[in-house]
Symmetry: C2
Subunit: 246 residues, 2 copies
């Protein structure tokens, strides 16, 4: 067998394989087909019949949805160990979203057939999938609430914090967001426009909350961002500038 482009040990720890031993994981992974793509390439496109459930094994994948009018939002960013694309499979519906690689990525793909067989052999898999979906639902519901009730600055702050948890790497000055996202993409994750994101980031950069260079973001002051996300300090911190936090 040729060397696989993923480590079973690494993937064995992921949510999908919770409670399954290494051997089972190995077998399950062996049933899947590995798919590698380059930056910008598409795993599945919204509207296509959905054929597979994917497990990301390397890279970053953004899941987007466009409306009929062409407005596009980013539903989530997938990192290694997370699944995607499977919802359409599970309920046999055209794929509700597009999955595009943000960087060179690979994923293991299982067809509906294979999945059903695997569900039989490893009932735990169904249970895990159920829990993953429950988690996602909970998360998306929270975002729905945020989008309904919070102002843009809060939502952008939350987006950055979420990205930090997802793909943050400690560096000396703070937390580097280890993915290249444009202002527009940040906007699509926060429910706003690239202009507003740009303005907010500029402001926050002046306040030393974040550092940004085209696509490379560093969170310098997590607490400050959290404060923004929770709207402590009211609308606009009347006397901002050199903040009183000292």
């Amino acid at each position: 067998m040729p060397p696989q482009p993923f480590s079973v040990d690494e993937l064995a720890g992921c949510a999908l394989f919770q409670g399954l031993d290494r051997e089972a994981c190995s077998k399950i992974l062996a049933c899947g087909k590995v798919r590698r793509v380059r930056r910008r390439e598409i795993f599945v496109r919204q509207g296509e019949p959905s054929q597979s459930l994917f497990l990301c094994s390397a890279g970053r994948v953004k899941i987007t949805q466009v409306s009929e009018e062409g407005a596009e939002i980013i539903l989530r960013v997938i990192t290694p160990g997370q699944i995607f694309g499977g919802f359409g499979v599970l309920i046999e519906t055209p794929c509700p979203a597009t999955a595009e690689a943000l960087e060179a990525s690979s994923a293991v793909a299982w067809s509906i057939r294979q999945l059903e067989e695997l569900f039989e052999r490893f009932p735990r898999l169904t249970a895990n999938l159920m829990r993953i979906l429950a988690h996602r639902l909970r998360e998306v519901e929270s975002r729905l609430r945020e989008l309904s009730t919070e102002r843009v600055s809060q939502r952008v702050a939350r987006t950055l914090l979420r990205l930090a948890r997802l793909a943050g790497r400690r560096v000396e000055q703070g937390v580097l967001l280890d993915l290249k996202l444009s202002r527009e993409e940040l906007a699509q994750m926060s429910g706003t426009t690239l202009f507003t994101v740009s303005r907010l980031l500029s402001e926050w950069q002046h306040r030393d909350l974040v550092g940004s260079r085209r696509g490379r973001l560093v969170i310098l002051n997590t607490h400050g961002l959290v404060a923004l996300a929770e709207d402590l300090g009211g609308r606009d911190t009347p006397e901002s500038g050199t903040a009183a936090t000292g």
Copy 2:
């Protein structure tokens, strides 16, 4: 055994019991405990440890979520045959939302323990739950997109159409929304304020798209509403009044 306040035959058709025969449904239902509540009563409250998965057997239940600042939104309205409250159970987390009866309602409740046992005995149950969650996720993701990209009028129109599908009853003039929702509640479902909802409904009433009497809504012209939801006709139909479509 005393008569149950639900009909097995009726519930047997619901998504949770897909693919299970009447006998199995019967057994599963027998494991649960029936809970009846009056209008305004609460099944579970956000933040409590979640103890049960519920299957609504009669009535209407609204699922709401409040933010720390006290802003409340309605995530969905549950009708007979639908489950609720279980997500916390499935992932053992405090209940992420409140479930309040919009009218006298009843539901069958299973504890975590019972559920786990049932999952063993009826693997199909897990698969069904998985599919239900996948559906909900898909729906909520669409709403996230709508909330991000559409204007208020579209979203309110969509809310009405959604309610019509959920609880619409054909009457001579059109489709009666068979649930008492206040302007405020419609607003909480659409991500806006009660004032804006009120204004929109007034306008639509003049245009004979809907009829409304305190809490009783009738959709008179579904196509018109769909057009609004999809934003055909642009921002404001410059020369509205007697529209040019006639």
